[in-house]
């Protein structure tokens, strides 16, 4: 079983559109499992019409809660809190949004007025789609531990992939380079980085590539909206050549992509230049994942 993770660094470059299209293409002759590792803003389900089979609660970390009856308003909790989460007053209180759950106040409170309480921080789901099972999640607004939830979703999806003897675990990643992205990347056989020919796209691509390299994950690049700027396209193409990074495709800007999203379909369901380029990209990715042996050390 191979694990392909779709990333971008910069948001909005087309990760989910590409993931949905690859799911459509891969499922034509392979058994696949899908995971949406963007737990803040999970969009893969909007294209794949999932039917939810299971719903589970995700308990994040614990947070501090002050018992008003026991609080002696000594202010020790505010002194030790480094997250600016304690609201002083006649009776002290902890801001549940700012609290990072470190329990420093719990250990220091002389009146033992603070309790650490587990938080229901989100939910995760198992669903069926026309291409294979989908594991996805929703982290409640403003919660911490998105990396932990991503790890959980991926772990469950991986187990399912082993049970189903699937060929491929396809993971739609979050934007950025921080904890949820690191969690999404872990264990990947290949990271496909979707970028666009803009100054921001090029800047963020470079950081995303460095992140993948940092964790020793092989990379490939897909250039979306490739006809937007010939100069930026040339710069990104040149960068990939210089650094020996395979560029597996260039998708032209095409309103058909948004139209497909509105219809809730992968862009490869209809013929067109974007669909053609994605088919070619998938064939190159398949070769990398399933045919080529990794280079000897």
């Amino acid at each position: 079983m191979k694990q392909l993770v779709i990333l971008s660094g910069k948001g909005g470059t087309g990760k989910t559109t590409v993931t949905a299209a690859l799911a459509h293409l891969a499922a034509q002759d392979r058994r696949i499992v899908l995971a949406d590792a963007d737990v803040d803003a999970a969009n893969l389900g909007l294209v794949l019409a999932p039917v939810t089979e299971e719903t589970h609660d995700f308990t994040g970390g614990r947070i501090a809660v002050v018992d008003p009856a026991a609080c002696v308003a000594c202010g020790r909790c505010a002194e030790v809190c480094r997250f600016d989460a304690v609201r002083p007053g006649d009776i002290y209180a902890v801001d549940p949004i700012a609290c990072e759950g470190c329990a420093a106040c719990f250990y220091e409170c002389p009146a033992e007025a603070i309790e650490m309480q587990p938080q229901r921080a989100g939910q995760w789901f198992v669903a069926t789609t026309r291409y294979g099972p989908l594991y996805h999640a929703h982290l409640f607004a403003g919660q911490e531990n998105s990396g932990k939830l991503v790890t959980l979703v991926k772990q469950m999806a991986r187990l399912r992939a082993f049970d189903d003897e699937a060929d491929l675990l396809l993971v739609d990643g979050p934007p950025g380079i921080g904890c949820p992205v690191i969690a999404a990347l872990s264990g990947a056989d290949l990271a496909l980085i979707v970028t666009e020919p803009t100054v921001s796209g090029a800047h963020d691509l470079e950081r995303a590539l460095r992140l993948a390299t940092h964790f020793n994950i092989p990379v490939a690049v897909l250039l979306n909206k490739s006809d937007l700027s010939p100069a930026q396209t040339a710069a990104i193409t040149g960068y990939c050549t210089t650094h020996s990074i395979p560029l597996v495709g260039r998708l032209p800007y095409d309103p058909a992509v948004t139209d497909a999203m509105v219809r809730g379909e992968p862009v490869t369901a209809m013929a067109g230049p974007v669909a053609d380029a994605l088919r070619e990209a998938w064939s190159m990715l398949q070769t990398t994942l399933f045919v080529l042996k990794p280079a000897e050390e």
Binding site: T13, V39, V80, G176, I177, P197, V262
Partner: protein, 287 residues
Amino acid sequence: MKLSIASGKGGTGKTTVAVSLALSLASAAVSPLFLDCDVEEPNAALFLRPEISARRDVGLLIPVVDMARCTACGRCAAVCEYHAITVIGKQVLIFPELCHGCGSCTRQCPERAIHEELNVMGSLEKGITGASAVEFFQGTLNVGEAMAVPVIRQLKAWAIPPDVDDRPVILDAPPGTSCPVVETMRGADAALLVTEPTPFGLHDLRVAVEVARDELSLPVAVVINRDGVGDDGVDAYCAAEGLPILLRIPLERAIAEGIAHGASLVDIRPEYQSKLAELWKAIAELQ
């Protein structure tokens, strides 16, 4: 007023709006503060091109154990909620990437064998953008580091003086809705959410409204970017929720091409300068 500019979905135009808003508000009399809080992928400098005048390392204070005093009692590991310190036999192992820098292990060590040292996770920079007099600040998380929140927290503490008063403060948020976005929005006076009129844009706008309006009780207004694509779901949602749509930026190839090359919206379409100044006034009235 301190305004955070966020979106839920990435790539909707947060930085485009934030940069041009700062440029529109800047004048001989007013020097807005601009904070790029997307420390994982900071891009505003590509458009504002500030001259950087100061730089500093930031990170968290993490524990260092004096083994001469340590008795391997395990108290440090017992009080760590993040499993960032563990005791095996006579050895103490510290995992800096898990440590939140809360100081519990240091305070709780009965032998006072722990002190703290800065673990550098990123950097902060400040500067001024040329003639426009925008005071610019950005944080950058080092590649391979997981935690963005401490960098954002320290960026805000460094950039925003307590007596900021009436100076406009613009906070360009990262995408998403989890802790880095919340840290950016905390203490702001309002949130401006930039979206696009597509099913993805709508889905992620809803979650951004949950954070800004429902969790943080901020007044919220909306900008629709790439107006004309997709469907009318965002309009219907904003009408139903009573969210004011203060600006629409149409999908135009000339705008997209200009931004691809690092031009700002007000460079490409100067008429947005007055529209953005009006938008600022309209948000101030929402409070």
